[in-house]
Symmetry: D2
Subunit: 386 residues, 4 copies
């Protein structure tokens, strides 16, 4: 069967990659497909301005690191990785941030949430990865925390790593558990501000979205009050017919690219803002992340682990008893609606960036997730442009 990639008629990818003999070659080929962010396609979501990079890193101090693992084909093929978000540029163990959590459809895993809800604090970096990697990533995260905070678990309180996952089993041979602690440390070491790689990278390497290739996506918005909201998603959810781009039912209009859905999937969504918000306000932000997901057309299937975490970088809470009373700032709830709008818009665009930036990938047993055909997307959107 032939399929159409990027508007070109080519050999089916599964056959194509049979010709590839080395992992290096495989990675190079997989990455050769030109991909664009949604705005590069001329499509905007909403009415607010983006931040400079249109990324979660527009929230000052946030750093993102990613390790991408693409190894082998057929049985034992690995298409997985890890993405780590450092919520500020300092030592998050010593210097905590307010955070909250919303379980939209928590058929998935996010560790550390009991502690996050009890303390209202984010106390560690946030790790995103494939399902079977959670344990090893957690172990590595704990070792990292012990290393940079030698007194943790000796004379000082432990922090509980946030590790969230989606199932990358369609493309990756998950029972082989391909991630090592070194892969996690590598992501940590490479974490930086600036542009964030999107699509089939990091924790999102092996994921699918609206039955096309998905993965990591990000976006941001700025309010008139000068606050920034950034969202980063690891997107692995929803069926094609659900897909809406700015309301247009693109998923129902796209031709070709048959893909048989496997198990139900998940999406992890992280929202960050420099607006000073308290934990109960961040829970309200997290609920607007759910609104953003819904506005892409997703209905959150039963097995989809749709889990949301929101944090604010504005108030720094020291992790010790040295200060008896914290002085905190908090946006007046009467003025918070622009932050809600920013969240809804940035979430949508982050999900759609994960979609448009993800190139076609062939994984275990020849399973292929096609990058959404950008030419078709543009054609459909032009037809219904408002």
């Amino acid at each position: 069967m032939k399929s159409s990639l990027g508007g070109l008629s080519v050999l089916p990818f599964a056959s194509f990659v049979d010709l590839i003999t080395s992992d290096q070659e495989l990675q190079r080929e997989l990455r050769s497909e030109p991909r664009k962010r949604l705005r590069e396609l001329g499509i905007k979501i909403g009415t607010m301005e983006t931040g400079l990079l249109n990324a979660i890193t527009d929230v000052d101090g946030i750093k993102v690191g990613q390790t991408t693992i693409i190894k082998g084909q057929g049985k034992g093929a690995a298409r997985t990785g890890v993405t780590v978000i450092f919520p500020h540029s300092g030592n998050i163990y010593e210097d905590n941030l307010f955070a909250s959590y919303f379980d939209l459809n928590g058929w998935g895993e996010m560790t550390g949430i009991a502690s996050l809800e009890n303390t209202g604090l984010l106390q560690t970096p946030i790790f995103l990865t494939g399902t079977v990697n959670v344990g090893i990533v957690y172990a590595a995260a704990m070792k990292y925390l012990c290393r940079v905070n030698p007194n943790m678990g000796v004379t000082e309180e432990v922090s509980y790593p946030i590790v969230a996952e989606c199932l990358d089993d369609d493309l990756s041979d998950t029972p082989s558990c391909p991630i090592s602690e070194e892969d996690v440390f590598k992501a940590i070491e490479e974490a930086k501000g600036g542009p964030v790689a999107e699509g089939a990278v990091g924790g999102g390497t092996g994921m699918t979205l609206f039955d096309f290739k998905g993965g990591i996506g990000t976006s941001s918005r700025r309010t008139k009050d000068g606050y920034t909201v950034g969202v980063l998603v690891m997107a692995n959810t929803a069926n094609r017919e659900e897909l809406r781009i700015d309301g247009v039912p693109v998923g129902r209009k796209i031709q070709g690219y048959d893909y048989k859905p496997g198990n139900t999937k998940s999406i992890i969504m992280i929202a960050a803002t420099d607006a000073p918000l308290l934990p109960f306000q961040l829970k309200k932000i997290a609920k607007r992340v759910a609104h953003g997901l819904a506005q892409t057309g997703a209905i959150s299937h039963t097995g989809s682990g749709d889990i949301i975490l929101a944090f604010s970088t504005a108030n720094h809470i020291p992790k010790n008893g040295s200060v008896s009373v914290h002085a905190i700032k908090s946006v007046n709830d009467f003025n918070i609606t622009p932050l809600y709008q920013a969240t809804v818009e940035a979430t949508q665009e982050a999900i759609l960036n994960a979609l448009t930036m993800a190139q076609t990938m062939v994984g275990r047993d020849g399973n292929t997730a096609f990058g959404i055909p950008l030419d078709q997307v543009q054609t459909i959107m032009k037809k219904y442009s408002w």
Copy 2:
């Protein structure tokens, strides 16, 4: 300024009603504007079939009663009422149903939720009304329960009425608290199955939606497994520019009908199904109601009391200790996704029915909420029809 109502060019309503001298005449005039349900305009939401009536009453046994109060003009004008939903045709006090609650943005009131969450049960009818009426409706509901269950609060457990509200202060002179217990009893007595009046009726009489006139709306869907999901909303929320109909940004395309938003608003959404669901599953249904709201474009402003209740009519739980162990049925979560889709679709259409069915209304101090111009809606939708 002239404005266009239902395709006709007429005097601005605020001037128009100055000519009216009696409440009867006022009510007649206000109701003379022809309104249609969304499907009567040729617009469908989603892909699933509706129930026979496309209403919450498609769930067998559900009865709805409404009292509409339209009195006076200017200072002291009342545009309010009460809508009551009987969740089954028997005595809900003696014969409870599983239910759950989701606080999407609970800046509003729904009484009885502590009991509902603790017992997992809906034990009373559900009352929807304007904000200042909550106390009197609660008192009337309690009297009604005492009357039909003479042992309640004597030898048997009390049930706590579910009374939810939205603020109808733009059109109604709320501090005058115009509802009486008799108005509540009247709604109870008139409750029946069959078609449900929509728009500016019952609890929704004085409400606005997307800066047009809003109120009560309902819709339903049937799954291939033969289950029905029905949704009824009392809709009083969101700004015009948010409005999307099937993804089309109708709110940004409509011409004219300036309306200065007052305080932020609310929406109460009730989902019912005959599918056998447990309380934790109904909470997941309630979260899909939120998805449905989001897909109309709403972002849930800070002051909007967006509160959701979901119940299932399938398992009847007797309110006493006569049975030591209940035999219960529950849909397998692996098969629940069609109910989610049904909920998302029915919620959207219920909200949009509240919008298209609500006629223009002039309330206190000449404040006017215009019915959304159906001709413009149709024109815009045709332009972008997929």
Copy 3:
């Protein structure tokens, strides 16, 4: 059968009151039994110091008002009332406080909790009353708010009254709904700082506790950091054999005073502190209120509406958009444990004060709730004193 009241051998109360012909006489007689607070009996709970009054009013600014209704005997007898807590001395509508809620076993009613959880704010006085009075108290509370805040529901946001209840049906003829709006206004007008009447007063007039007479109780503690925690309970719960006073199983040791339990009962517990705490911290305080209840031996029966609200008077949050960012203080969680201990101790003692301060009461149909015999309490406690 003779029974022993306060150490004196008297006629059974049910016969005794048959001799009484007027409500005034009835009230006088019922109040003639000498009662004492726990500390007046020489019993202390815990190790921390109490506030000056050992009452919730030790938290600066808190005012309590109570209307007690004792009317008639037999059928139609009323033993009910309302207790109102003003959380500070200003206008709580304009000047909100952080608050949170914990549903320990919410088979009861507390209105206004959706709004409280969404905003993190207490925006109205707190009303405690008998079950069937909730509607009328809510309506009166709303009228009161409209009166002192004429723009509420017109140009300003509505606040949703907190009205909580326990079932006083054993002593009061509840279906007769004996409370009027005037009774509520009276409690509001009489609210004041200083000592708080305890036992069979206000909302607690008709309640029972550990199968003895219960009602309103209060206590407070001061931490070494100079913070005060005050607790006020409306206590109507638990069976006699559960009762522990400072660990001693007093309920199992008391002789006589047979009382047939009616329906299961409830307890509403309100904790206040002048320590600056955020909503998520107040939820943790509320959970320690549950610990305090447990340490009295209560197991929280199925039908007991055990509902807890906690608020802090330290941060005042204006109810409007005039301030874009609030400056807030918050106790460091590393230093919060003394507030937990204060809460556990004050809750226990508040419950026990409700018990020891409540005099014997005869209600509808001659139903009699005996005041716990203080002489027996003292004798038992002395035997096991540590």
Copy 4:
């Protein structure tokens, strides 16, 4: 300084163990101190009957496996381990049970709770361990699940392991992360019904309780309806002065045994029952576990990760879509109170069994946790016996 152990005057343990040269000898010595369960000391909690073994394994089908790691002294000393609870005798991955979770003071970790709350199901064994082991235990648990369910993560849904922890840093050199995946598999393999080892074993090996040695404890109760409630705790919390045994303030009466508290601690509590309960009912059971903890005198300090999970073995829910509707049984809430009482009693006794069964242990850097002196406990309890 000399201290009194088990009624005998001996050398301080820290010196004592200096004489020990091998790990085998160390383990033998540490275990030589005679310990007893609470009932063997003649002390009963509550009034209900225990199950046959007075252990969680009285709930039919439950199996417990434990690996205890005691290695080295001084720097690098390991006093840790893992305890695994199999909730039934079959394959819990394929055959799920209803469960719920209560975060009493979640400054700790329990993985898998998003999934547990979303599905209402326990889908894996429950693992209890020391804090730094969570990652490796999670990884091993996932491997175990993949091994016994080869299609997991390939054609079938993943289950998310429940791994909960307390910090054993006072006795164990936690940053050295001494547990291996083999240790976890060993606990899994050795899991069995019957008596459960208590005290300093398994996950509880290095833990302290009321400033004495703590660890694993268990207890059970039977209701008159023939249901069993079993509780197993990993107890590592509270200060000595809080300790109450059946209400007697034993902690304040014990002489000697100075112990300087380190960081604040945690307690994980698992309740199981064969009574058919739905998830929302199991949450109510979990809240009574908190009552049981409170009745031991604990106030749940700020840093204590007090996390509770409750499950029912009565309804088996297959983990696939083969059955469209489950037939389920559920205890009538009107008859549930005896299960609450059973839970409160069993929790208390499980905690106290962890205390009385735990022998003195010397850990890293000579840190010593003394077994509570049983002779003093008995003497104190006799003095205040009721």
